[in-house]
């Protein structure tokens, strides 16, 4: 088990290194220098050149990547905080520490000051959505999977497919029109402060609803397929023939086996919810991780993008690990190996 975890940990670090290098390389091909971005569009070329020189922005890609990596692990101090740059950048944690993601050129703040709050906000949004997605999708999936092609299956399938095929921006506009403008019982945006007269709880309703509507149908369809597969297995037929009630058959025999494949799908939804909520966050002006990544990538804020990449890769690998561990628990055959 320890060997398995260690192997996974090494894999995670390798994946993160590859991903971070890719981000670095991709940013290289988009126009825009760090100096120009720090000074804004109206600075003269002379000023930009001066800052580029101070930041050593003209070094080869590999050298700059190496420097970024060095700053991240705390091997070297962040060159941006050097007073010589005249940028007035300072990090309360110091210039040299492990986990130093550097300075965001977009926000002019240490990435660590920006990213964790945003991640926390998105975690709240994603967590609430997940709380609804799991039971809803399991319920819908099982009910429609029990009798493939039955009336209930058809009704639920239509609901699931319809909801999943409505893009988030469409459903959010629809919900806003309905509950904010025509029947004003909910706030139209979710800036996560209660100063506008709407409690934060109210502000979360619409964005969570949009995520749930978009996502639960997809997971339910996965569970349905898995359920159908299980219900056709001989041991279920035997159980039914033995005279067990449907309820007993489903809960005691089918459910556990039917959940093995969807379990991974459900865990994948965590990744989707953390990094894929961009549209929802944009529509509801929600100060989350997705919007931060969007702003950073439009602006070409490499430090923030790198940090976001590291975090999303870490979450992806961790959920994958959880998935594998869960698999072992659900399916004894895997444990034997």
């Amino acid at each position: 088990m320890a060997k398995f975890l260690l192997k996974r940990l090494v894999m995670m670090v390798v994946t993160m290194l590859c991903a971070s290098f890719l981000v670095f390389a991709v940013c290289e091909f988009t126009p825009g220098s760090v100096a120009r971005k720090s000074l804004g569009p109206y600075a003269t070329q002379q000023q930009v050149d001066l800052l580029s020189e101070k930041l050593k922005a003209n070094d080869p890609l590999v050298v700059r990547y190496g420097r970024w990596l060095g700053v991240l692990v705390g091997a070297i101090p962040d060159p941006l905080q050097d007073p010589d740059t005249g940028l007035n950048f300072s990090d309360p944690r110091g210039a040299q520490y492990f986990g130093n993601f550097g300075y965001s050129t977009l926000n002019k703040l240490p990435v660590n000051d920006v990213i964790w709050d945003r991640l926390g906000n998105t975690a709240i949004l994603a967590g609430l959505a997940f709380l609804f997605i799991v039971p809803l999708s399991i319920l819908f999936g099982i009910l429609s999977g029990l009798k493939e092609g039955g009336k209930l299956d058809r009704v639920l399938s239509v609901i699931c497919i319809t909801f999943t095929s409505i893009p988030e921006f469409a459903s959010s506009v629809f919900l806003v029109t309905l509950f904010v403008i025509l029947w004003p019982i909910l706030p139209g945006t979710s800036p996560l402060n209660s100063d506008g007269g709407w409690p934060i709880g109210y502000q979360l309703i619409l964005p969570v609803a949009v995520l749930v509507i978009y996502d639960f149908g997809y997971v339910a369809r996965m569970i349905r397929v898995s359920m159908i597969g299980v219900m056709e297995r001989p041991y279920i037929r035997t159980a039914i023939l033995k005279g067990m009630s449907t309820r007993q058959v489903v809960l005691r025999h089918a459910l556990r086996n039917a959940m093995i494949a969807p379990f991974t799908v459900l865990l994948l939804q965590i990744n989707f919810l953390i990094s894929g909520v961009v549209v929802t966050e944009l529509v509801f002006a929600y100060p989350g991780f997705g919007r931060l990544i969007l702003d950073a990538s439009l602006f070409g804020d490499i430090a923030t993008l790198e940090a976001a990449t590291m975090i999303t890769v870490a979450i992806a690998v961790t959920t994958q690990l959880l998935g594998d561990l869960g698999y072992m628990l659900l399916d004894p055959r895997i444990r034997v190996k």
């Binding site: 600075a43 003269t44 000023q47 940028l87 926000n107 709407w198 529509v283 439009l298």
Partner: protein, 556 residues
């Protein structure tokens, strides 16, 4: 009139009385030369705006929330967009103030005087102003701020405005990688920015400059406390009506009113900016559910959907904001001026205004001088002429037109819409345009180097400010690579001419050059608009997009 009045004021009065210049024009010129607005209004015979009486009627107290993008604001002197400056403006102030009528008043200054040759500007500070910290505002503070923006290492865009009369470019003697001489800039003289006494600063200019008061009102020209070292954030010192108590990038800012403010207001107890992101729908939704009391800006589409909200009032103002489609004249296709003329003749301005701005604009004439600019000279109008454009293209060697890329940005959406309508119209003369939209941040990286692009230009109260920045050979923001010695000469001449009649004559020549030879197609001037809750009082939309929270009040 006392001795400090500029010697040219009596001539202006004469000209106004003989009808050579309009009364509004008189107001603009006279205040530029240091005459107080009250005195100028008195001389002009126009009723002075009733700002003094109204404020007393405004209710006190309460909180106001305005939706606006809240990006970083580390250094007040590096501000480059109206939104960023609005965050600082409530705390730090400018030496001057240009009102919605385009008239520049003293602000932190009590008054200014200018020499007859327009080279020596004496700025007198008000003596009743103190920082939040309690220390009085002095000439040393002002000198520090002015000198700081002139330091190329700081990176302030004020450097571009000041180059030519306070700042000069010089050859460092070193070479760049490509063997071209390495240039740098510095104050043209150690004495360029001079402290006369504790409340007087003198600008000793290398060349005559009429637009100094306007320059002192440009976004980054904040007067910040030297003790803050050019860093701005919650708790930063300022002379303004509010203190910033909280700021989170991408989320919002909170302000607390200052009790001992020297000027009008503030009426509010607290004031807030809320970041609603880039999605235009979010702003509408926030107005609908009254999570904000107003927006810093609302485009025509947003305005249309909010007109039906009973609690919302719409504000509109004509500005000198515009977009120019500019062609690099050294590029093969645009080398011949007949091609550039053809591009101008291909455009149906009214159609662009209707399609891209939903009507919120007025036609422009391809010379970047707006009818609302004091130095505007009316030239014969010309409309769309596809036949003539095709003929000009054929003469220039492009009987079948040509293909070309146009670089633009996708937001604000009206810019992209304009690019698309322009491309449609260019198609009619055989010029096939392929639009390449870059995200804003990346667009600003290439805005000066792409051969053909569409750039938005902000509001400026004087046309010579824009023209000198954008079309003078080698000017810092000369994005069109345009170089015409005749235009340069005329611009310098215009900057130094006081007589409005003579100046207008020079402007007519400049405008004619731009229409005949110039590098731009300029379809319109924008009408800027926004919305406020009807409970907001004292709000006036300023063409520069500046917001002044100390003028606003909320009724219960």
């Amino acid at each position: 009139m006392d001795k400090t009045t500029h010697s040219y004021i009596p001539t202006l009065v004469d000209q106004m009385q003989t009808g050579a210049i309009g009364r509004r024009d008189f107001l603009r010129k006279a205040t530029l030369l240091g005459l107080s607005a009250a005195a100028a209004y008195g001389l002009s015979g126009l009723p002075a705006p009733a700002t003094a009486a109204e404020p007393a009627a405004l209710p006190k107290g309460g909180n106001l929330r305005i939706g606006m993008r809240c990006m970083e604001i580390k250094d007040p002197h590096l501000v480059d967009f109206a939104e960023k400056s609005n965050l600082i403006r409530q705390v730090c102030e400018y030496l001057t103030f240009t009102d919605a009528e385009n008239i520049t008043h003293p602000s932190l200054l009590e008054k200014w005087e200018v020499s007859d040759d327009l080279k020596t500007w004496t700025l007198h500070l008000r003596r009743d102003i103190s920082w939040h910290s309690g220390r009085p505002l002095t000439a040393d503070d002002v000198v520090w701020n002015l000198r700081r923006v002139c330091d190329p290492a700081i990176g302030s865009s004020m450097l571009g405005l000041f180059t030519g009369y306070l700042v000069e470019d010089y050859d460092t003697g070193e070479k760049n990688a490509d063997q071209s001489p390495r240039m740098a800039s510095r104050l043209w003289s150690e004495n360029a920015i001079e402290k006369v006494d504790d409340y007087t600063v003198r600008l000793n200019c290398a060349a005559p400059q009429i637009a100094v008061p306007e320059h002192l009102y440009h976004y980054p020209m904040f007067i910040a406390d030297p003790a803050d070292g050019g860093v701005f954030g919650p708790g930063a010192n300022g002379t303004g009506p509010f203190e910033m108590v909280e700021y989170t990038v991408g989320k919002g800012a909170k302000y607390k009113a200052r009790a001992d403010y020297w000027g009008e207001g503030p009426y509010l107890d607290t004031f807030e900016f809320v970041d609603l992101g880039d999605n235009p729908g979010a702003s509408i939704a926030a107005m609908a559910s009254r999570q904000v009391d107003g927006l810093s800006e609302a485009d025509a589409v947003q305005i249309n959907s909010m007109r039906n909200f009973p609690h919302v009032a719409v504000y509109e103002v004509q500005t000198t904001q515009t977009v120019v489609a500019r062609m690099h004249p050294e590029i093969e296709q645009f080398k011949d001026k007949r091609v550039r003329q053809a591009m101008r003749l291909a455009v149906d301005r009214d159609k662009i205004i209707q399609t891209a701005l939903l009507g919120a604009g007025t036609p422009a004439e391809d010379h970047h001088v707006a009818p609302t600019h004091p130095e505007y000279a009316a030239l014969p109008k010309y409309g769309r002429d596809v036949e003539k454009a095709r003929q000009l293209l054929a003469e220039a060697g492009y009987p079948d037109g040509f293909d070309f890329d146009m670089v633009t940005r996708p937001d604000p959406i009206w810019e992209l819409n304009t690019a698309q309508v322009l491309a449609e119209q260019f198609k009619d003369i055989g010029v096939r345009i392929n639009i390449k939209a870059l995200p804003s941040a990346q667009y600003w990286e290439v805005w000066k180097t792409t051969p053909f692009s569409l750039t938005a230009w902000g509001h400026r109260s004087l046309a010579i400010m824009t023209l000198s920045l954008a079309y003078r050979s080698n000017a810092a923001w000369n994005e069109s690579n345009y170089a015409n010695p005749e235009l340069d000469k005329l611009l310098t001449e215009a900057e130094g001419i006081l007589d409005p009649k003579e100046r207008s004559k020079v402007m007519a020549k400049i405008e004619a050059i731009m229409q005949d030879d110039g590098p731009i197609v300029q379809p319109f001037w924008r009408i800027f608009s926004t919305v406020m809750d009807k409970k907001v009082q004292g709000f006036e939309l300023h063409p520069s997009q500046y917001l002044f929270a100390h003028q606003y009040a909320v009724s219960a």
